[in-house]
């Protein structure tokens, strides 16, 4: 039987982005994990995690370690579930377009093929690096620019597990010029979790909730020194209070709306105070040495990746820097790249 549908799947460390080729409305973001409440037997997988609203003490297991799939049993179960119930196709009748992290180890690549063909049973598969797909889409949305016509650009992929600066030319990744910072959204979440646990309320067991809080409150500061000075004391303008979920009326918690006249909750242990962490946590991407990681920051990484490419490409690469990945949503991350020396 000839395959008749093409499924596109981006297998990310945090979420799987999946959909049918040529049909944007079928695009879904599914958590790439299984979750269960501490102390209970029943687990939840992939899209059922989204439907599950009680986020307190959620234990999350992910198949991906440092950006590479290592837990294949888990990953196979998630893929099977996603293909069957989210996309709604029979896995044995499809073509699959799949992303694979750069520099995947040969042993892991072989396992990937084995799982796809023998256990999931897809008909045909195309495996490619995510930055090229991003750049293709970017070129599709902004046709006409010189760099996009040449299939040339620098893709900054700020993901969940690590951050890559990837020069692309003629739709090919320039492998020797790729640069990586071993710091991504997951590390930031855990870092923030440790900080607020020490300073405010113990959140060490609430990684899932911390992820939500980070997404709502963090931003990239244009001038960390000034902002740090401004966040001193009680009258700090960066101070926010996150009301933790009570498990009854408020399942996810929310940011306290002080301007709207909402008052502090009576119990102190339900109000998480977040202050300078809001911008000092994302700051780690720009200065990893701040948290002890001996690697250069994002701006220097981009420059190094461009410098490592052929000199004639420098102009084209600098003219077309594309920022993708889950961390791109941190407000103002874009401007900072321009201002940072």
């Amino acid at each position: 039987m000839a395959p008749h549908q093409t499924v596109v799947m981006d297998n990310g460390g945090c979420t799987i982005k999946v959909g049918l080729a040529g049909d944007l409305s079928s695009l879904r973001m599914i958590p790439n994990c299984t979750a269960k409440v501490k102390g209970e037997r029943q687990g939840y997988i992939a899209d059922t995690v989204l439907a599950f609203k009680d986020v307190l003490s959620l234990v999350v297991r992910r198949p991906i370690d440092r950006g590479y799939v290592v837990s294949w049993d888990l990953q196979r179960d998630i893929w099977t579930r996603v293909l069957k119930h989210v996309v709604g196709v029979n896995a044995s009748t499809i073509r699959l377009v799949l992303t694979e992290p750069l520099f995947n180890l040969p042993a892991l690549h072989d396992t990937l093929l084995q799982v796809l063909f023998e256990e999931i049973g897809v008909q045909e598969v195309f495996i490619g690096p995510p930055p090229v797909f991003s750049l293709r889409w970017h070129a599709h949305c902004h046709p006409g620019s010189l760099a996009n016509t040449a299939g040339c650009g620098l893709v900054v992929d700020a993901g969940f597990s690590f951050t890559h600066a990837v020069p692309v030319f003629d739709w090919r990744v320039l492998q020797p010029a790729v640069r990586r910072i071993d710091l991504g959204g997951k590390a930031l979440t855990n870092h923030m979790k440790a900080l607020v646990s020490y300073r405010s309320i113990n959140m060490m067991e609430e990684t899932y909730l911390m992820e939500l809080i980070k997404e709502q409150l963090c931003f990239v500061s244009q001038d960390p020194q000034t902002d740090l000075a401004a966040s001193r004391g009680k009258a700090s303008r960066h101070r926010r209070v996150y009301v933790l979920p009570d498990g009854v009326s408020d399942k996810l918690g929310h940011v306290l709306d002080e301007a709207g006249g909402e008052t502090m909750p009576i119990q102190k242990d339900t109000a998480l105070v977040v202050n300078s962490e809001r911008f000092m946590v994302p700051e780690a991407i720009f200065h990893p040495s701040g948290i002890g990681l001996e690697q250069a920051g994002l701006a220097e990484t981009i420059a190094a990746a461009v410098q490592a490419a052929h000199p004639t490409l420098h102009g084209l690469l600098y003219s077309n820097v594309l920022l993708t990945g889950s961390d791109r949503d941190v407000p103002a991350i874009n401007q900072n790249n321009h201002t940072d020396p």
Binding site: I45, R76, Q175, L195, Y198, L228, M280, S289, A304
Partner: protein, 169 residues
């Protein structure tokens, strides 16, 4: 062979300065912890039989299809799952981590661009933005023992009392 003074004083543990390697080890342990999935996952994983992780579907009671895309549907009884000795052993160990795979691949002798060559080197300039590990404010000082940053005597006192090398070494 160097002669050591017989009158060597024993320095109190509170003032003993760690050497660079030990400080580095403490920092690395902290960085390693940043990539962990869940704090209590490790406590869960080995051998605790009643706390095992079984994934079921909630609505129709039908299990996740088994390997090979077989259409046979197994009914999964609550919490029971056929276990082979290999599965039990793997659960006890947990899946192989990326670190182990990387060691096996032995990339140090690989000439081409690979995972190791893509890693970004150390920064050319040191960051001037330090923040106090206790309160988050800008900090000027660092702990004499472990090298963590702090901003004031009060924060240092808190640091020494609650944190300084208590959980990492």
């Amino acid at each position: 062979m160097d002669r050591r003074s017989l009158r060597e004083r024993k320095v109190s543990e509170r003032f003993a300065v760690l050497d660079k390697a030990d400080q580095r080890q403490a920092v690395n342990a902290r960085l390693e912890a940043l990539e962990e999935d869940d704090a209590q996952e490790n406590a869960l994983a080995p051998g605790s039989d009643d706390e095992e992780f079984t994934v079921r579907e909630d609505s129709d009671g039908e299990s996740i299809p088994a390997a090979g895309g077989s259409t046979k549907k197994r009914k999964l009884k609550t919490g029971s799952m056929r276990k082979t000795r290999g599965m039990v052993a793997e659960r006890a160990r947990g899946p192989k981590l990326f670190r182990d795979w990387l060691e096996e691949a032995d990339l140090a002798h690989d000439p081409g661009p690979n995972y190791l060559t893509a890693a970004m080197g150390p920064p050319r300039s040191r960051s001037t933005r330090h923040s106090c590990t206790v309160c988050g404010d800008a900090s000027k000082y660092s702990c004499t023992r472990c090298g963590s940053r702090f901003c004031s005597r009060r924060c240092n006192a808190t640091h020494v009392e609650t944190r300084c090398l208590k959980f990492t070494l």
